[in-house]
Structure formats: structure tokens, C-alpha cells
């Protein structure tokens, strides 16, 4: 999951489709995100590379829509509904996830265990 600036990023991703849950007037997904290009990457406990300014999932609400869909804490969000999330500010990321007119968000997330699983299965 490390990236070299200027080089294309390749990652083993998992596609997660989350249906938003309506709570009163809010549509919630049930997780928290951290990170962003305007944030300090050194404080990210989930990232391997401490200069990674991507968006990470910091919490997943138990039995929330995100957990149901398979999202896990520590996942790095690569895309939301086709929008890139590797080079966005924190607020942009939040906005992309919380659009009021979208009921479903399709994320592409990556995590270390996926890569390892693939590596081990190919050994």
C-alpha cells in the first residue's frame, strides 16, 4: 500500500457496497474516517506508511450499514462511487460519502490482509 508520488498506485482492493440507513433526517453509513491531504499523516494509527495521506476507516459502528457490507476498521478508502479518495482533503472525503441524494455508496477499499492473502496463496 505504499505509494511513490508520481507513480500509479496498484492495490488489491475489495469492493464494498453500503446502503445508507435513514436515521430521522440523516443518512448514515456507520463508520468514521480519518486522514486527508490536509491532515497530519503521522497520527494515523492504521497506515503502514506514515506519509500516507489517504482516507482510512477509523471506526466501524457495530451492526451499522458499513459493517454489514464488510467494511473493517483500518481499511483505506481508495474510491467512493468512482471518485478518487487518495488525494482529497478530509472535508471533501466526508462530503463525498454523505451526499444526500445517494442511497448507496460503492467503495473500493484496500487492506493489508488482502495483499497478504494473495501473496500467500501464490507462494
Amino acid at each position: 500500500m505504499s505509494f511513490i508520488p508520481g507513480q500509479p498506485v496498484t492495490a488489491v482492493v475489495q469492493r464494498i457496497e453500503i446502503r445508507k440507513l435513514r436515521q430521522g433526517e440523516h443518512l448514515i453509513l456507520g463508520f468514521s474516517i480519518g486522514g486527508g491531504i490536509d491532515q497530519d499523516p503521522g497520527q494515523n494509527p492504521f497506515s503502514e506508511d506514515k506519509s500516507d495521506k489517504g482516507i482510512y476507516v477509523t471506526r466501524v459502528t457495530p451492526e451499522g450499514p458499513a459493517e454489514v457490507a464488510g467494511l473493517m476498521m483500518g481499511d483505506k478508502v481508495m474510491q467512493v462511487n468512482g471518485w478518487d479518495m487518495t488525494m482529497v482533503t478530509h472535508d471533501q472525503a466526508r462530503k463525498r460519502l454523505t451526499k444526500k441524494n445517494e442511497d448507496v455508496v460503492r467503495l473500493l477499499v484496500t487492506r493489508k490482509s488482502l495483499e497478504q492473502a494473495v501473496k500467500h496463496s501464490m507462494m
Partner: protein, 660 residues
């Protein structure tokens, strides 16, 4: 034959037994007529009619959209095939009539027309690029408008269809992987490619009004089309053969309720388009954006159209020959010659041909070869044939002689035929083009979505961890023996705590021989997996797994509890690696059995996480719209929220986290 103005002179008495026989179509007046072809086509028509009836019934009966689309596609294909066969039948009858008329009118001998050999024409790797507006493609806005698309390929009366592909705006091209081979095509073939599409969104169990309309339209069309056909097939006009079975063909087309395909684009390919590589051809598009079945086509189709004329693949002529090189008068060699493709292979003996031994020598017969028959040889009475070629600037002549005059004639005839074929098939005779026969269908890796780059490396959502554990478990099985030697892979430590845990207890009911998963073990980046049925439970089954205790030995337990424990393990490993702020102390129950329920595990984790984060909130300062521990979905009051927001956003030391 019963009308006065008929050109035939024979008359049959009405009401006689002979007339009845003729009416029944069994009696053939003329011995020159080839009835075998007729009956073949008739059989094909009957077969297609039966298929059509079956498709109609299926269409009426099926409830799912996919089935309806497939059934509608077969219906359309059957209808088109029936039309093609009937017009072929008509053509054949007309040809017969013309032949008979010609025979009677003139005493011309057998015509000297040479017919070129037939060949195999194969079209493969059809790809039709699409032209979405960039707003549609990239932003993924609006509803996903989907269409079902397939192609029909027609040469003469032979019609093949491709598989159906569902197109939506995530695709950049429509690809048809089928290779379609037409076995008997003449060099003047016309391969008509038609693309049909149908919108796959509407509800087909429509209300009564539209059904009435549909039925009215289709029945009225059927009747008028039937009338036309009846007129065309009228036995009174030309042919003495009355089609006894013709009545059944002309019933009005059955009313069709269901998805209807419309012609979207077509093009015609011919010999000039044949090439051993991919080429792009233009499409004529019918329809515009307003149609429901519209798919934005770029206007081209790319495909590989290859042809193998029989003169290149089959032995056109073979026999014993005597060959003389150059001008040497006495050195005749006895060979067995085989004319195939652009070469005359000369083997020492006839048996060598089957034994695949290399020929003694090869004389090339191509466009530049010149062949002459000569009588010059005084030693033999038979004619001899001179073949001259240019090999690198030099003219090399071989002289062939056959045993008898008739043989020589036959060889000359074969050579002329070969030249004629080569002139007709043009570029196909330069080199033999490869045609890959469609192999028996392998279980292909079916990706749920084709197309765009972003979807290339995806693991199917419902199978993520279970697939991983499957792989791991399987590797463990394989390594069982190896581990006795002491070498165990590093990840074995994951399972050391709970020795029996991720073992395939759950798999005992299943056969130990599980089919390999080509998706996951392939070295390609795409990791789509076709999973065993137990694995592909929907994500909701995760919760069913939570409720029941994880029991190691019960074969009925779901996979999810097991995988959750693996998740817990993996997150433990990850957690141990933190020096960082968030102490994710979600260690799995440290007891060796996993009976302590995962249900406790993760809320524990969350609780500990949030407690630790709240304890650190002073230094981090920002868990702005974070959830409180109690009800997971309640939100803090808005005033506090906004104040926290502001403070958090303004403080550069914070690492913001937002609840979504």
C-alpha cells in the same frame, strides 16, 4: 401444371391418383431436380418452428428479466432463421425452374463455368466501442441504464448468434468472445453483421392496454407477412412441387409479450475485408438517442475476419507423377504428388503422405507460376506439363508427366481449378490464415462487471474473508504433511492458539476434493472468485452467525463466525503493531477455544476503542461528530457538534476524524 398458360406440356387429369400424389408433394416430375437440398431445408425450417414455439412458451412463462431476455433473443433468432430458410427455399425453387427452362430451350452442353472452391470463413473477437458522454461515464450519475445486446451473423442462409451481453455505462466496449465459423462459404460471400439491442429496465408484465397493442401489432404483421409469403410460395406460378407442409409456416406470428429486440446497427463484410489481423469496419446505425434500446455506439466494429478456402486446406489432387528437373532430358523421378494450397508436394511414396514424412521436394504453385502443357516429349506419348517458377530471379522449370493422357488432363484441370480458386479467393491464398475452432466451453471467470480499469482487481464482496480463510485452510491441509518436517509458514502462528479452529470442520459434509478456484490462484490481478455455494452467503448472514455460538464441531455452523475470529486475529496482529494512539485492544478471547462469542468480541473492541479515543480526546481534540457509546446511532447535540467541529478544524495538530 394445371393452368393452361403453363409452359409445360404435360397435363394431368384432375382428380386422378397421380394428381393427388403430386399435390402431396411426393412425386417429382423431373429427374434433374435435386430434392435432397429441399428436404434438408424443410427439416431445418421445421426444427426452427419448434424452437420458436418453445421460445414463445418460455417467454410467456419466465419471470426473471434475464430469462426473458434470453428467450426473446432465441425467438428473434428463430424468426430470422425461418425467414432466411424460406427465402433460400424460394431461391432454390426458382433456380430449379430456370434450370429446367434453360435445358429445354437450348441444347447447350454442360456449361464451362468453373465454380470456385468453397471455404471456411471465421469471424471472431467482435468488439464494438461505445461512446458515453464523459459525465455519464466518470461521474456515474443518474440511474444505470442497461441494455441487452447481441449480434447476429449471417452468410447466406446460415445464421449464427453471439451470446447476449448486458451493457451499461461502466462498459467501454461491447465484446463478444465467440468465434463463429461458417463452413461452406463461397468467395463472393456476404457476411451480414447485425446488432440487436433491447432495454432491460422495463417491467414486462405490462398492463392490459399495451399488451393489446402489442398483440394487435404482431398479429397484423404476421398476417400480412404471411400473405406475402404465401403468394411467393404459390405452387401454381412456377414449381410443380407443391409444398404440402407449407400451410403450417404461414400462421400469423404468435403474440409476443416480453422484451423486444430492435436492430441497432448493421454492416456487411465480404472477401475484401478478410485479413489475418484485426480490422475496424464501419457500422450503419439505425435508431437514435430517443429510442429505448439506444446504446451510444462509436460507429465502428472491430473484428478478425479470416478465411480458409478449401483449396488451401484440402488435397485438391493427388496421384503418381514423373518429374523432370529443368532441361535434363533423362532424369525422370517417380513421385507421388499432392496438390494442396500453394504447393505441389512430391513424396517418394504414397505412404509417406499419411506417415507425415517430409516430401522429397516441393514445387510451389502460386500466382506467379506458369503452367504449360506440351507435346514435345518424343519418348512418351502422353502430354507433359511444364511448371515454371521464379526462385530468386532464376527461372526454374519442372516437367511433369503422368501415366496416361487422362491423368495428364486431370492434372491440368486440377491446376486450372487451383489457379481459378486463387484468383477468386485473392488474399486468402497467400498464406493459410489460422482459424481457432471454438473450444468446448470452459468455465470462464465471469466478472460481474466488465470494462473499466477500476474493476479489474476486485474480490467479490460476500466472499472476502471466507475466501481468504479457505485458501489458508486449504494450504494448511496441503502443508499438513510438510509441517511434520518442521517447516511451517509464518502465518501458521495465527492458528496456533486455536488448533482446530479454521480447519475445515465446517467442510466435513462437503467432499474433500474441492474444485480449485481458478480466480484466486491465477497470477492475474483480477481476483474474482467463483466460490462454493456455502461461501457466497450474503453479508446479512454475518449476523446470523453472530447469534449462535461458534461450535467447532458442528457441521452446520456458518462460515462467518469462523471468519470473524480470523478478522479478530488479524486485527490483533495489527493492533499489536501500533505504538500509536488508538489502542485497539480487541484481543480475541485468550482462551484456546473460540467459544467466547464473537458477538462479544467486536463490541468489546469498539468500546475499548472509543474509550481509549475519548481518553485521548484531549490531545487529539477532534472526534467531532463521534458516536457515544450507548446507542450507536445517536448524535451529540448540534451546538456541541459545531463548536467541536470548529475547534477541531482549526487546530492543525489534530488528526480529524469524521463520522459518516
Amino acid at each position: 401444371m394445371f393452368c393452361r398458360n403453363q409452359t409445360t406440356r404435360a397435363t394431368i387429369a384432375r382428380g386422378s391418383a397421380l394428381e393427388m400424389e403430386i399435390r402431396r408433394g411426393k412425386f417429382r416430375r423431373s429427374v434433374f431436380l435435386d430434392t435432397l437440398q429441399d428436404s434438408n431445408i424443410q427439416k431445418k425450417i421445421d426444427h426452427e418452428i419448434r424452437m420458436r414455439d418453445g421460445a414463445c412458451k418460455l417467454l410467456a412463462a419466465c419471470s426473471q428479466r434475464d430469462q426473458a431476455l434470453e428467450a426473446s433473443k432465441s425467438l428473434l433468432t428463430c424468426n430470422i432463421r425461418i425467414m432466411a430458410y424460406m427465402s433460400e427455399l424460394q431461391r432454390m425453387k426458382e433456380a430449379q425452374v430456370m434450370q429446367r427452362v434453360a435445358l429445354r430451350s437450348s441444347d447447350a452442353g454442360p456449361t464451362d463455368d468453373r465454380l470456385p472452391c468453397k471455404g471456411k470463413v471465421a469471424i471472431s473477437d467482435l468488439r464494438i466501442p461505445l461512446m458515453w458522454k464523459d459525465t455519464e461515464y466518470f461521474k456515474n450519475k443518474g440511474e444505470l441504464h442497461r441494455c441487452a445486446v447481441f449480434c447476429l451473423l449471417q452468410v447466406g442462409a446460415e445464421i449464427h448468434d453471439t451470446d447476449m451481453v448486458i451493457v451499461d455505462r461502466t462498459l467501454t466496449d461491447i465484446c463478444f468472445d465467440n468465434t463463429i465459423v461458417f463452413s461452406e462459404a463461397s468467395p463472393g460471400f456476404e457476411l451480414r453483421v447485425e446488432m440487436y439491442s433491447c432495454c432491460s429496465e422495463e417491467d414486462y408484465s405490462t398492463g392490459s392496454t399495451s399488451r393489446k397493442l402489442a398483440s394487435k401489432l404482431s398479429s397484423s404483421l404476421g398476417r400480412s407477412a404471411g400473405k406475402k409469403l404465401r403468394v411467393a410460395m404459390d405452387p401454381g406460378a412456377c414449381s410443380p412441387i407443391s409444398n404440402g407442409g407449407g400451410a403450417t409456416l404461414l400462421l400469423p406470428l404468435p403474440t409476443v409479450v416480453g422484451p423486444k429486440y430492435h436492430l441497432l446497427a448493421h454492416t456487411t463484410l465480404s472477401l475484401s475485408h478478410v485479413q489475418d489481423s484485426f480490422r475496424t469496419h464501419d457500422l450503419s446505425i439505425s435508431g437514435n438517442e430517443e429510442c429505448s434500446h439506444w446504446v451510444p455506439l462509436y460507429g465502428n466494429v472491430c473484428c478478425r475476419l479470416a478465411a480458409q478456402p478449401h483449396c488451401m486446406t484440402q488435397q485438391m489432387m493427388s496421384g503418381c507423377l514423373k518429374v523432370k528437373f529443368g532441361g535434363d532430358p533423362q532424369s525422370w523421378t517417380n513421385v507421388y504428388g499432392v496438390l494442396k494450397g500453394t504447393n505441389l508436394f512430391c513424396y517418394h511414396r504414397q505412404e509417406d503422405v499419411e506417415a507425415n514424412i517430409e516430401p522429397a521436394f516441393t514445387i510451389s504453385i502460386n500466382k506467379k507460376t506458369r503452367i504449360r502443357a506440351s507435346e514435345k516429349d518424343r519418348h512418351n506419348k502422353a502430354q507433359s506439363i511444364c511448371i515454371s517458377n521464379h526462385y530468386g530471379g532464376e527461372e526454374v522449370t519442372h516437367t511433369l508427366s503422368a501415366d496416361s493422357r487422362e491423368d495428364t488432363h486431370r492434372w491440368m484441370e486440377a491446376f486450372w481449378q487451383q489457379f481459378y480458386d486463387m484468383s477468386q479467393w485473392k488474399q486468402c491464398c497467400d498464406d493459410l490464415m489460422k482459424i481457432e475452432l471454438p473450444s468446448p466451453r470452459k468455465p470462464t471467470l465471469v466478472t460481474s462487471k466488465q470494462g473499466s480499469l477500476y474493476h479489474e482487481m476486485v474480490i467479490d464482496t460476500s466472499d472476502d474473508i471466507s475466501t481468504v480463510t479457505d485458501i489458508l485452510a486449504r494450504r494448511m491441509e496441503e502443508l499438513e504433511l510438510r509441517s511434520q518436517l518442521g517447516t511451517s509458514p509464518p502465518w501458521m502462528s495465527l492458528f496456533e492458539e486455536s488448533p482446530g479452529c479454521p480447519r475445515t470442520h465446517n467442510r466435513l459434509p462437503h467432499s474433500p476434493l474441492r474444485c480449485p478456484r481458478p480466480g484466486l490462484l491465477s497470477s492475474e490481478a483480477s481476483l474474482t472468485s467463483d466460490s462454493d455455494s456455502p461461501c457466497s452467503t450474503s453479508p446479512c448472514s454475518r449476523y446470523s452467525g453472530w447469534a449462535e455460538p461458534l461450535s467447532l464441531s458442528s457441521p452446520s455452523s456458518h462460515f462467518r463466525p469462523r471468519t470473524l475470529s480470523l478478522d479478530a486475529k488479524l486485527s490483533t496482529l495489527r493492533g499489536r503493531g501500533y505504538g500509536g494512539v488508538l489502542q485497539c485492544s480487541c484481543q480475541p478471547p485468550s482462551s484456546s477455544s473460540l467459544a467466547p462469542i464473537p458477538a462479544q468480541c467486536v463490541p468489546q473492541a469498539t468500546l475499548s476503542c472509543s474509550s481509549s479515543t475519548s481518553s485521548n480526546s484531549s490531545s487529539e481534540g477532534s472526534h467531532s461528530p463521534e458516536l457515544s457509546d450507548g446507542t450507536p446511532f445517536s448524535r451529540p447535540s448540534s451546538a456541541r457538534q459545531s463548536l467541536r467541529n470548529l475547534r477541531a478544524k482549526l487546530d492543525p495538530r489534530n488528526w480529524l476524524q469524521s463520522q459518516v
